[in-house]
C-alpha cells in the first residue's frame, strides 16, 4: 500500500505562484511590454487576427447592448473592456478543445464561430441555449456561475480516460472565485491532473461588489497554490498576453502536465447589464482611467507601428464590423418563433404520459384564446 508523504516532499510550492506583476507582452501605449515573463509574442498573423476579432466583437457587443435597450433582447451583459480576454482565450483553443463560457461571454461565442442568432438565443429569450454544444465544442453559457468549472474538469478528465487529446477552458469572473464549485474544481483538476485551463476575467466587480469585498487574497491567481495548480497573473487587456498565456496552459494540459489557473486583470466598462445602474457603486473617474487602457487601441497602435496594419486594411475591417452589426440587427429584429409545444419536448428523453396531458391542455388553452369571439 502506498504511504503518501505528508507534506509532499517533491512539490516545489513556489513554482506554483504567479508573478508579482501581471505578465504583459504589449503595454497600454502599444509598445513591447516590460514584463513578458515566459510568454512568447504571438506570430504577426495571430496578432492581426486578435485585432480583427476584437473589432468585430466590440461592434457586436455594442449593437447587442443597443438592442437590449430597445427591448429586442431580454437582457444583455456587455463584455466591453474585456475584449482581449474574450478573443485571446478563444483563439488560443484548438478545434477539438472545449469552451465553458458564462452569460458575459457572448463575444467569446462569436469568436468561436457561432452564428449571431445562436450566440444570442439565451439573452434574446427564445430558449436557454441556442446552439448545439457538440457542433462548436462550447458548453451552454453558465448563469449560476462557477458551476461550469466542474463540468470542464469532468469533460477534460473523461478525455484523458478515453485517451483523447482535448483540453477544456473554463471562463469565470472574480466573483465566481468565491463560490465553492471553483475551489472543488481546482482541487479535482489538481488531483486528477485534468487537462483544463481556468481563466479568471477579473473585471473588478461582481455586479456591484468590488474585489476588495470579494477576497483578501493577494491575487486571485494565488489561489492555485492551495490546489497544486500552477498559476499566471496577466494583463487582461493585452490580447497578445491572454492568447499566449491560455495557449501555454492548453499546451501544458495537452502534454499531460495538468491544469493551469490564469487571472487576467481587466475591467468591465459597462454596467453589469442594461438593467444595472453602475453609478450607484463606482465613480466615472475609475471607468475613464480604464478607457485609457483599451485593449483594441493598444494592439492597433502596435500593429500600425510594426507595419502589420495599414489604413486600407483598417477601413475594410470597419466595413466588415458594420456588416456584422447589420446582421445582429436583422437577426434580433426578426420575429421570435417560440413554440409552446416544445416546452414538453426535452424534459426527459421521451415525454411522460403526464407531460403529454399537460401539453394537450396547454395547446387547448391556446386554441381557445385564439378562437375569434362569436
Amino acid at each position: 500500500m502506498t504511504i503518501l508523504a505528508h507534506p509532499r516532499e517533491t512539490a516545489n510550492a513556489d513554482s506554483l505562484l504567479p508573478s508579482a506583476k501581471p505578465l504583459q507582452l504589449i503595454d497600454q501605449d502599444g509598445r513591447p511590454g516590460e514584463n513578458p515573463g515566459g510568454l512568447a509574442l504571438p506570430a504577426p498573423d495571430v496578432l492581426r487576427e486578435l485585432h480583427r476579432r476584437m473589432v468585430l466583437g466590440r461592434r457586436f457587443d455594442s449593437e447587442a447592448a443597443a438592442l437590449a435597450k430597445q427591448g429586442r433582447l431580454a437582457v444583455y451583459p456587455s463584455s466591453r473592456g474585456q475584449d482581449a480576454c474574450q478573443v485571446g482565450a478563444v483563439l488560443a483553443l484548438r478545434d477539438q478543445d472545449w469552451l465553458f463560457p458564462t452569460y458575459r461571454d457572448s463575444v467569446a461565442l462569436l469568436t468561436r464561430g457561432l452564428p449571431v442568432e445562436e450566440a444570442l438565443t439565451l439573452l434574446r429569450g427564445d430558449w436557454h441555449c441556442g446552439y448545439d454544444p457538440y457542433e462548436y465544442r462550447v458548453a451552454p453559457q453558465c448563469t449560476p456561475l462557477a458551476t461550469n468549472t466542474l463540468h470542464a474538469v469532468g469533460l477534460a478528465y473523461a478525455a484523458r480516460l478515453k485517451k483523447q487529446d482535448q483540453v477544456a477552458l473554463a471562463l469565470i469572473g472574480d466573483g465566481a472565485t468565491s463560490e465553492g464549485d471553483t475551489h472543488e474544481a481546482l482541487n479535482f483538476a489538481g488531483v486528477w491532473k485534468a487537462p483544463v485551463v481556468f481563466l479568471v476575467q477579473n473585471n473588478g466587480y461582481a455586479i456591484s461588489v468590488p474585489l476588495a469585498k470579494q477576497t483578501a487574497a493577494p491575487t486571485l491567481a494565488a489561489k492555485g497554490i492551495g490546489y497544486g495548480v500552477p498559476s499566471l497573473l496577466i494583463d487582461g487587456n493585452d490580447a497578445a498576453a491572454v492568447y499566449a498565456a491560455v495557449r501555454s496552459g492548453v499546451e501544458r494540459a495537452a502534454a499531460g502536465e495538468g491544469p493551469t489557473l490564469i487571472e487576467a486583470m481587466t475591467y468591465r466598462i459597462e454596467a453589469h447589464t442594461n438593467a444595472d445602474d453602475a453609478t450607484r457603486y463606482r465613480a466615472f473617474a475609475e471607468v475613464s482611467a480604464w478607457l485609457e487602457r483599451d485593449p483594441i487601441a493598444r494592439l492597433e497602435t502596435y500593429l500600425k507601428d510594426s507595419g502589420l496594419l495599414d489604413d486600407a486594411a483598417a477601413g475594410r475591417l470597419a466595413a466588415e464590423a458594420e456588416q456584422l452589426a447589420e446582421e445582429v440587427r436583422d437577426s434580433m429584429n426578426a420575429e421570435v418563433s417560440a413554440d409552446p409545444a416544445e416546452l414538453f419536448e426535452h424534459v426527459y428523453a421521451h415525454p411522460t404520459a403526464a407531460l403529454e396531458r399537460q401539453r394537450a391542455a396547454l395547446l387547448a388553452e391556446i386554441a381557445e384564446l385564439e378562437e375569434p369571439e362569436a
Binding site: 449560476p144 458551476t147 469532468g154
Partner: protein, 358 residues
C-alpha cells in the same frame, strides 16, 4: 464536429436500448440488497466500457456500505475510483464526463451528505437536456443511501426524496427488494435520463432468493407486491417491507390489502396506481419522510383528482413526524410502523354509521 465526438454522441444516442450480454439461464440464489447492488454495478461495468463508478471511499474500501466492494480491484482505477471529499465536485464532474460520452455512476455517501451537490443536480443535471433542446443528454446515476432505521447519528438518516422529485428532468427511483435493486440499478444505468437512485439503507441486508435479471417491469412502472381487494397501500424503498407486514396483519382483521411498490417516484406511474385505487376505493400512502409537503401529499392529491368518484374515504398518509430526524434512541417514535399503518387503514370510513371511524 470531430469524429471522436460524433462517435461518442452516436453511442449516447443508441444507449436507450442496451443489449445485455447473453448469459446462461441464471438460477435463483440468495442475495442481500447490498450484494444485488454490487452485482448490478459489476455487470454494468462489464457490459459497457463507458460506465465509470466514483465517489468517496468507493475504491479500496468498497464504500462505507461495501456496495462497491471489489470493483476497483476487478475493473481498475480508471473505471472505479475515489474522489476528493466534495459532493458538488463529484456530481459536477460527472456531468462533464457524461458530456464527453461516459456513463458515470456516482455515490453520495449518505442522504444528508448529498446536499452540497444540490445545485449541480437541480440546475444542471436535471436541466441540461432541456436547456440545450435535447442536444445534451446526461446519462448519470447518483446513488444515495437514504432513510433511517439503522441507528445512525444525525445527518445519516434523512429521507430526502421530495427535494429531488420536485425537479423535472430527473428520474427518482428506489427499490424495495434485493431482486428489484439489481433490476432498477441496471435500468437506471441504461437510462438516457439522469437518475437519482435512492437505496433504502435499512434494507441493505434484507435477503431474497431470486434470479438477478434486468427482465421485468420497466424503470417507470410500479409493481403490485401483494394483490388485495379492500385498500391500496402505497409504499416505496424501505417502507415496502413494512407495508407487506402491515398487510399480513390486516388480513387477520379481514382487510384484504393491496400493496404497491412505486419503484419510480418520478415520473409517477399514474396508470397502475389509478387502476388500483379505483378498484379498491381506498388508499393509504406510507413514507419515512416528514408528512408536511412530503411526497405522500402529491400521491394523495393526484390520486384524489384521478379517482374522486371511486373513493370511499379520503386518502390517508402515514409518515414521519414533522421534526428534524431524531437521534438513534428516539427514531422508533418517528418511523412509520405496522401499527400506525393499521390505524390508518382502520380510519378509512369502513362503516358509514360509525362516526368514531371518521
Amino acid at each position: 464536429m470531430s469524429t471522436v465526438m460524433s462517435a461518442a454522441r452516436q453511442a449516447g444516442a443508441t444507449r436507450e436500448t442496451p443489449a445485455p450480454p447473453a448469459a446462461p439461464p441464471a438460477e435463483a440464489s440468495p442475495a442481500t440488497m447490498a450484494s444485488a447492488l454490487n452485482r448490478a454495478l459489476a455487470d454494468s461495468l462489464a457490459a459497457d466500457d463507458r460506465v465509470v463508478v466514483f465517489g468517496e471511499d468507493v475504491g479500496a474500501l468498497g464504500g462505507v456500505f461495501r456496495i462497491t466492494d471489489g470493483l476497483a480491484g476487478r475493473f481498475g482505477e480508471q473505471r472505479v475510483f475515489d474522489t476528493p471529499l466534495a459532493e458538488s465536485g463529484i456530481v459536477g464532474t460527472a456531468i462533464g464526463m457524461a458530456m464527453n460520452g461516459l456513463v458515470p455512476v456516482v455515490e453520495m455517501q449518505f442522504d444528508a451528505f448529498a446536499y452540497p451537490a444540490f445545485e449541480q443536480v437541480t440546475s444542471h443535471l436535471a436541466k441540461l437536456r432541456n436547456r440545450t433542446r435535447g442536444r445534451l443528454a446526461l446519462p448519470v446515476v447518483i446513488r444515495v443511501p437514504f432513510g433511517g432505521g439503522i441507528g445512525g447519528v444525525e445527518h445519516h438518516s434523512d429521507a430526502s426524496e421530495a427535494y429531488y422529485t420536485h425537479t423535472p428532468g430527473l428520474r427518482v427511483v428506489t427499490p424495495g427488494t434485493p431482486a428489484d435493486a439489481y433490476r432498477l440499478l441496471r435500468q437506471a444505468i441504461s437510462s438516457p435520463d439522469p437518475v437519482l437512485f435512492l437505496e433504502p439503507k435499512r434494507r441493505y441486508w434484507a435477503k431474497e432468493t431470486a434470479v438477478l435479471t434486468m427482465d421485468g417491469p420497466p424503470i417507470d412502472q410500479a409493481v403490485i407486491r401483494r394483490p388485495g381487494r379492500d385498500v391500496t397501500l402505497i409504499a416505496y424503498g424501505g417502507m415496502v417491507a413494512t407495508a407487506l407486514e402491515a398487510a399480513e396483519a390486516a388480513a387477520a382483521e379481514d382487510w384484504d390489502v393491496e400493496v404497491i411498490d412505486l419503484r419510480s417516484l418520478s415520473p409517477f406511474d399514474d396508470q397502475t396506481l389509478t387502476e388500483s385505487v379505483r378498484r379498491t376505493g381506498r388508499a393509504v400512502v406510507v413514507h419515512e419522510a416528514s408528512g408536511f409537503a412530503g411526497y405522500g401529499a402529491e400521491v394523495a392529491a393526484r390520486l384524489t383528482e384521478q379517482c374522486f368518484h371511486y373513493l370511499e374515504a379520503p386518502i390517508l398518509r402515514v409518515t414521519g413526524l414533522d421534526i428534524p430526524y431524531p437521534p438513534p434512541h428516539l427514531e422508533r417514535f418517528h418511523l412509520p410502523n405496522t401499527d400506525r399503518i393499521l390505524d390508518a387503514i382502520a380510519r378509512l370510513q369502513w362503516d358509514e354509521d360509525d362516526e368514531d371511524n371518521a
